[in-house]
């Protein structure tokens, strides 16, 4: 964990960061003229809003992977489900302003739907959609998590299964007759709660919402990880069977964390969609989830600042690289991933400590991470295969 010195100063950093993100940047955007040197353009605010929602997603991945040891490759499924739930509301708010000037959303006219499918009807109401952002992913996570944890699927098997789940879901959403726009997804949004989505003020408000969500998620996670619950969580990550034999129902703990992080991811997705203006099934592909895992790994898992730094940093790098070196971006991302996994098991946040240790013990560069290092007192353990 973090050193004492860092811990004391870390609230200062949180406060400063929140100040910059929630007050300074939007303020500069709203109250300075376009020609002012410190002006933050509408485009940038929109871009930063996207980064912030990615940061929330990264936090949800970290809560699962960094703190509980569950590497889910399906986190983007929940992200997209949240996005789709709000997207349905946004779709219905277009009204007759679509390409075909009909009550039905464009893709339904295009695909020849006679009328709005019944499950779309309640999404005219914003609050229903907002509730659906929470309960739909939570329900999916609950069912899948219950099945997975009940049969004690863990480790890599859990990762592979979540990947299969996402894969199946994305195949389903790619189908035209699944009533969610198929390949093209939901797009062309116009209004949210009566406000024009293209106006800078609306975008700024969405940006602020995302910033607040990030702050709240951060506070929630840091509160959670400091309670006994958080300790059990980390104990499950490090030695699940010992926790189990100490009388804790590890499956329930894991299920709770899984559902919680699904909800967090879904909220991030719901705020992401109106800012980006589109949601389609490619968002839930397995590689998107893996990309979110990269952010966490780069920033430093098992910490709360790391994922935020990682998400914003990697995405800023991506924005730059896809423009400057479009062919090399994937090479860069892949290499970054290999290097971080091999040489920086604790990410950027853990880098200072790693350097300190390197100075003390120059012989060992790659240290096994906390979860793999056996406790010193433990007798030599026979190497076993997963049961």
């Amino acid at each position: 964990m973090m050193g004492r010195r860092l811990k004391d100063s870390h609230w200062w950093w949180v406060g400063l960061g929140s100040l910059v993100v929630l007050v300074v940047l939007p303020g500069l955007n709203a109250f300075t003229s376009v020609t002012h040197p410190l002006h933050v353009s509408d485009f940038s605010i929109n871009l930063y809003g996207k980064y912030l929602s990615y940061a929330v997603l990264a936090l949800s991945v970290d809560l699962l992977w960094g703190y509980t040891g569950l590497l889910s490759l399906g986190q983007c499924l929940f992200f997209s489900l949240g996005g789709y739930a709000l997207g349905m509301y946004l779709m219905l708010m277009i009204g007759k302003l679509g390409q075909y000037h009909r009550e039905l959303p464009d893709f339904m006219v295009f695909l020849g739907y006679p009328k709005l499918p019944a499950h779309w009807l309640p999404f005219r109401d914003f609050w229903f959609a907002a509730a659906a952002v929470v309960w739909v992913p939570a329900l999916v996570a609950l069912i899948f998590g219950f099945l997975a944890f009940r049969s004690r699927i863990r480790g890599v098997y859990f990762s592979i299964l979540t990947q299969a789940l996402t894969y199946a879901a994305s195949l389903m959403f790619f189908r035209n007759d699944f009533t969610f726009g198929g390949n093209n997804g939901l797009t062309d949004f116009k209004f949210i709660l009566g406000h024009d989505l293209r106006s800078p003020a609306t975008q700024r408000a969405l940006y602020l919402c995302t910033g607040v969500l990030l702050l709240l998620t951060y506070l929630l996670c840091s509160a959670l990880t400091r309670t006994t619950f958080g300790k059990v969580q980390r104990a499950i990550r490090d030695r699940e069977n010992r926790v189990l034999f100490s009388g804790y129902a590890t499956a329930d703990f894991k299920l709770f964390v899984f559902v919680l992080s699904a909800v967090i991811a879904a909220l991030a997705g719901a705020l992401y969609v109106p800012q980006v203006g589109i949601i389609n099934p490619s968002e839930m592909a397995a590689d998107k989830s893996l990309e979110a895992v990269v952010w966490v790994a780069v920033g430093g898992r098992g910490t709360l600042l790391g994922p935020i730094l990682g998400a914003v940093g990697v995405n800023a790098l991506k924005s730059w690289a896809t423009r400057a070196l479009p062919d090399l971006w994937l090479l860069l991302l892949g290499t970054l991933f290999i290097v971080v996994t091999l040489f920086l098991p604790k990410g950027i946040v853990g880098l200072p400590e790693q350097l300190r240790q390197l100075r003390r013990r120059p012989s060992r560069v790659v240290r096994p991470t906390a979860q793999e290092a056996p406790p010193a007192a433990m007798p030599v353990k026979p190497q076993a295969k997963p049961e």
């Binding site: 590497l71 899948f144 099945l147 997975a148 009940r150 049969s151 004690r152 699927i153 480790g155 890599v156 098997y157 990762s159 592979i160 299964l161 990947q163 299969a164 789940l165 894969y167 199946a168 195949l171 389903m172 790619f174 189908r175 030695r239 699940e240 069977n241 010992r242 397995a286 590689d287 893996l290 895992v293 990269v294 790994a297 400057a324 070196l325 062919d327 090399l328 994937l330 090479l331 991302l333 892949g334 290499t335 970054l336 991933f337 290999i338 996994t341 091999l342 098991p345 790659v366 096994p368 991470t369 793999e372 353990k381 026979p382 190497q383 076993a384 295969k385 997963p386 049961e387």
Partner: protein, 619 residues
């Protein structure tokens, strides 16, 4: 299309390959790396040149039969009825391809008459591509040579200057009939068969005589069957109920799939006798049932072939993941390595392969770019077709080499961190995909199956593609080989020892490091082999591996991690179920979703897979 001259045929057969290879080796600007390869190809080219030369020398000279047919054709075009009808009838039974070409041209007004030196008219065909003045060389139908002028040079004529051989409605019918009969007399049984079924479906009773004539002399079993069906089909339209009834029964007994629609119509028709409609209805039902079975077995067969590819992929994974506990997300890219190797070898046997990459970076003021040009063998015929035999082992070794590099640079640091091996190898897979895109382009590349893998054979109407049969047989061989290697050889013993307990094996003097390396390379090589097979069945593109990786991980998990037998069962099971569901639901995606859902539920029931590895260890 029309190349009647024997000289020209030889010209076309002359091996270009050897010449091309020489030229490339001698003059082509060779960049780094290609020199050695180029020389060796040139050597190979010399070898093949002598071989192909021998083939060209023995090209057949025009058969006497062909000359006779040409003479008859020529006479038929100039003659009048009834002499013309007699000649056409004679030609129709010759089975000659030249006759087919000329007669087809005739029905399209493509036969011209040359009225040269006052002597008899000469029937001609004109070459396909006229020059800029609209003129082309003329081919004499009676000899097959170019029409020469008085000076001995080939004459160039325009279609507009020549009179076309006259045709009328009646003549066209006669010629068409001759053409159909010709097709029935074709030397290739497959052509005869398709001609017969075409005539059967024509619903024109006037073909009955032709078909019956042919049936009387036909000896090929399959063709006889199709002829019988065609005749019965035509009999269905007969006015005599007894004839109809007999035809219906005949079709039902033969399970003639092609007759299904006609029988259905007959069963529903009101002007046939009730007895006939009833029989037709029964026949249609029995054929429908037969069709269901045919579809079912076809699906099972496709499922088996898909399952065996999945098996080869998953077998590699069962070794790296099941035995070594490494999650190799780049396993899919090993498949792509194998597939692209096949593509490369195919190109090296053909026109060669070149690529160049320009990086958007500058180093010391120079733009960074590199490329490679590999000259091809320009082989054709049997040599070209055999490229796949070279590609198979090479795809294994290339992928194994890639695995070797991957193990040394990345995987070996992660033996105790399986979750992280997943992440790092995913990074590798991203890098490799991008490299494929840069070298081979972002689009799918075309890998053509060698002729001996194309085509199919039919057993009881179920179609078996040679490529799929080949895949199944080879998968069985690979599984047996892998099993033998793991269970019966010393190397296999060492592998199992290291996989069970790496530290203990190392203590006992096994070179665990080395064994790990070789095992990983072997697993990757198997993926490469799977890629070579996949290139024969599906598309080859940079994302090829991605579409298989989820499936193959699932296969290993369902089979029971660490169990080769389990992998075999689950691969075949998942492949077949997938295909059957796709067929039953009429949608590939829905079938896949259901299979994935079923797998998740299956793991509820058997968390350890079909064949769980028993173990007393806990953590």
């Amino acid at each position: 299309m029309i190349l009647p001259s024997p000289q020209r045929t030889i010209v076309r057969n002359r091996p270009k390959g050897c010449q091309g290879a020489w030229v490339l080796a001698a003059h082509a600007p060779l960049r780094w790396g290609s020199l050695k390869v180029g020389l060796s190809w040139a050597l190979a080219g010399v070898c093949c040149s002598s071989w192909l030369g021998a083939i060209a020398a023995t090209a057949p000279s025009p058969a006497p039969a062909e000359k006779a047919v040409r003479q008859e054709l020529s006479r038929a075009i100039l003659a009048e009825d009834p002499e013309r009808a007699r000649l056409l009838n004679e030609i129709a039974h010759s089975g000659s391809t030249i006759a087919q070409e000329v007669l087809t041209a005739w029905t399209r007004d493509g036969v011209y008459l040359y009225d040269g030196s006052g002597a008899a008219k000469i029937p001609l065909l004109l070459e396909e591509t006229p020059d800029s003045e609209g003129k082309a060389r003329a081919i004499r139908i009676d000899t097959g040579r170019f029409l020469a002028g008085p000076d001995g040079h080939d004459l160039r004529l325009a279609a507009a200057d020549l009179g076309a051989a006259d045709t009328d409605m009646k003549l066209r019918q006669t010629v068409q009939r001759a053409l159909d009969t010709l097709a029935l007399a074709d030397p290739n049984p497959e052509t005869r068969r398709s001609a017969a079924s075409k005539l059967g479906n024509s619903a024109k009773p006037q073909y009955l005589a032709v078909l019956e004539d042919r049936l009387a002399i036909e000896s090929h079993g399959e063709v006889r069957r199709t002829l019988g069906e065609a005749i019965a089909l035509l009999h269905l339209a007969d006015t005599n109920p007894a004839v109809q009834l007999q035809a219906v029964r005949g079709l039902a007994a033969a399970n003639a799939l092609g007759a299904y629609d006609v029988l259905k119509r007959l069963a529903a028709s009101t002007n046939a006798s009730p007895e006939v409609t009833r029989a037709a209805d029964l026949a249609a039902r029995s054929i429908a049932l037969h069709l269901d079975w045919v579809n079912f077995f076809g699906t099972v067969f496709r499922g088996l072939s898909l399952g065996s590819i999945l098996l080869v992929v998953a077998l590699g994974l069962a070794i790296t993941f099941g035995l070594m506990n490494i999650i190799n997300m780049a396993h899919g890219e090993m498949i792509a390595v194998g597939a692209y190797t096949t593509y490369l070898i195919q190109n090296l046997f053909g026109a060669g392969f070149a690529f160049s990459i320009a990086l958007p970076l500058r180093l010391w003021g120079k733009p960074l770019a590199f490329g490679l040009h590999l000259p091809g063998l320009n082989a054709s015929g049997g040599l070209y077709e055999s490229y796949f035999l070279v590609a198979l082992p090479l795809s294994f070794f290339t992928a194994a080499a890639a695995g070797l590099v991957l193990e040394r640079t990345v995987v070996r640091f992660l033996y105790r961190r399986p979750l992280e091996s997943l992440l790092a190898t995913w990074g590798v897979s991203l890098v490799m995909q991008q490299l494929f895109r840069m070298v081979f382009g972002a689009n799918n590349v075309q890998v053509s199956s060698p002729a001996w893998l194309q085509g199919n054979f039919t057993i009881n109407d179920v179609m078996f593609g040679y490529n799929r049969v080949f895949v199944i047989v080879f998968a069985v061989l690979i599984v047996l080989g892998t099993w033998f290697m793991l269970a019966k050889t010393r190397r296999g013993l060492l592998i199992r020892a290291v996989m069970q307990n790496r530290d203990m094996a190392a203590c006992l003097g096994v070179r665990a490091d080395h064994v790990n390396l070789m095992t990983f390379a072997f697993g990757s090589g198997l993926a490469g082999l799977a890629g070579a097979f996949l290139s024969q069945i599906g598309n080859v593109g940079p994302g090829l591996g991605q579409s298989y990786i989820v499936d193959s991980f699932m296969t290993v998990v369902v089979g029971g991690v660490g169990s080769i037998v389990g992998t075999v069962y689950s691969a075949v099971g998942i492949g077949t179920t997938d295909q059957i569901l796709q067929q039953a639901l009429g949608s590939p995606v829905l079938g896949k979703i259901i299979v994935l859902g079923a797998i998740i539920l299956f793991l509820q029931w058997k968390p350890g897979g079909l064949f769980p590895t028993r173990n007393r260890g806990l953590d």
